[in-house]
């Protein structure tokens, strides 16, 4: 009996549980070997891809720069530039190469302006890359559509307006966001027309992005924001309030006063903030009348407004709120009282038995 036969016989004589464990060990060993092999293959494949990507990236960077400096200054496009475009036209038919070309162009167009930026846009059109981006708009996946719109925004393809405007109401938020950014980036304040009929919410992040883009333009002539302040879409109203503040829209005061009765608390608070920024006095009467029925947040905002616009006429109202249960309102009331009538403030100081009031008075007097 040789060693192998002896081992085999010994194995079969083992208890079933031990045999199962040995069998599992064998299976696991094979699985680990397969996984190691697969990981090695995957790593070399990824490294190979990365190497190819770097190679093409370098090649296309050079091609693009050569194209940009190949203009002869006389013709719209030199022969060298034409030859380069024809060469790149072939490359863009391959998805892998196309993505690298787009990445290279994107890197450059974000950082340069002027004639060269126009030349890159021309390159984008002439090589047919624009058609691939337009084709993406017909995709079924939301991320493909969103990336198509983003690309068209980046390369300022105004001709895609009619196609992209359809996506403003797309069920996917990212697609809607990209479509809205496209409209505002390329058509400035006119692009905000989508707000007229917007039914979906405009997220806070989307609002910030839109405002940031708008502030980059030289032309700061804002359209009439009244319809947006009257919108049934609360996020549109909140966005319009931001526009009113940033662009000093004093002529919409009547609409702002109407918004003080809006059903949404956040909108009412935002409105008071804008009125405070405008140092509006017309809203005082309304806000005083409705003070008791307002939320604490609104009351606090109103007192911030009063800190800027309060006068002698508000004295009685201020005195009523010196004993307010909210500390911040109490503090604001005393501060305003000192500003509009020091004598009355001193009277309150002497007569009060409220320890909190005493502390606030001391704080106000020493600061």
């Amino acid at each position: 009996m040789n060693d192998l036969q002896y081992d085999t016989e010994y194995f079969w004589q083992l208890p079933t549980l031990i045999k199962v464990v040995w069998f599992m060990c064998g299976v696991l060993f094979v699985v680990i070997l397969i996984l190691i092999g697969y990981l090695k293959f995957l790593r070399s494949h990824l490294r190979g891809n990365e190497k190819t990507l770097k190679k093409y990236q370098k090649e296309y960077e050079e091609n693009l720069i050569n194209y940009l400096y190949a203009g002869d200054g006389e013709n719209e496009m030199s022969d060298e530039q034409r030859a380069m475009i024809n060469k790149m036209k072939i490359c863009v038919t391959d998805k892998f190469k196309r993505n690298i070309i787009i990445a290279v162009m994107s890197k450059l167009i974000n950082d340069i302006s002027g004639e060269m930026a126009h030349a890159i846009q021309k390159f984008y059109f002439e090589t047919g890359l624009v058609n691939h981006a337009l084709y993406k708009l017909k995709g079924k996946k939301w991320d493909v559509i969103a990336s198509g719109i983003k690309e068209l925004t980046q390369f300022e393809v105004k001709e895609a307006h009619d196609e992209i405007v359809k996506y403003v109401k797309h069920p996917n938020r990212e697609v809607r966001n990209e479509a809205q950014l496209y409209l505002v980036s390329l058509f400035q304040f006119k692009g905000l027309a989508f707000l007229d009929k917007l039914e979906t919410p405009l997220s806070e992040w989307a609002q910030i992005q839109l405002l940031e883009i708008l502030q980059k333009f030289d032309n700061q002539e804002i359209p009439n924001i009244t319809p947006w302040l009257q919108s049934e879409n609360n996020s549109v109203v909140q966005f319009a309030l931001k526009l009113a503040k940033i662009y000093n829209q004093f002529d919409v005061i009547d609409e702002l006063l109407a918004l003080l009765s809006h059903e949404n608390k956040e909108i009412r608070i935002d409105t008071i903030r804008v009125l405070n920024y405008f140092q509006d006095t017309e809203s005082k009467h309304f806000l005083k009348t409705n003070f008791i029925n307002s939320s604490v947040e609104e009351q606090m905002e109103f007192f911030k407004l009063l800190e800027t616009v309060a006068d002698k006429e508000d004295e009685a109202f201020i005195l009523e709120n010196v004993a307010h249960h909210n500390f911040e309102i109490k503090q604001a009331a005393l501060k305003i009282l000192k500003a509009i009538n020091v004598e009355k403030f001193n009277e309150v100081k002497l007569e009060t038995s409220d320890l909190q009031v005493v502390e606030i008075v001391n704080f106000i007097e020493t600061n």
Partner: protein, 123 residues
């Protein structure tokens, strides 16, 4: 030995670096490119350039650290132009406080950059 004026360009966008290299070499300058702040400091110490162009946001060592190193450690008074993106206004102020001479907000025109470089190197 070359009489060309040396410029160190610290920029992590390789395409932009290449574009500026072409443009400035056409104007007769010698460009030394660094893809991060660390490499930029090495090039500055090795070549003592006549001017530095630096992006503010870079890997490893930022443009601000490069300026600080040049002004405080190397005690070099060569002109420095910084590139900044939108929203980096505070960084630009810090760059000026550290000793930068000029700044250009991205996106910028390469032609305008050439004018500024010529102006600073003419003093």
């Amino acid at each position: 030995m070359s009489n060309k004026k040396k410029i160190v360009l610290a920029e992590d966008n390789s395409t932009l670096s290449l574009l500026l290299k072409f443009r400035l070499e056409k104007e007769g300058y010698e460009l030394l490119i660094a893809e991060d702040g660390k490499k930029a400091i090495e090039l500055i110490e090795e070549h003592s350039p006549h001017l530095i162009l630096s992006d503010i946001m870079m890997p490893y060592i930022s443009g601000l650290e490069v300026i600080s190193h040049v002004r405080n450690k190397l005690k070099m008074q060569i002109p420095i132009i910084v590139f900044s993106a939108a929203g980096q206004e505070e960084m630009v102020l810090k760059a000026f406080n550290l000793g930068a001479n000029d700044f250009m907000g991205k996106p910028f025109s390469p032609n305008e950059l050439v004018i500024r470089v010529k102006r600073l190197l003419s003093f």
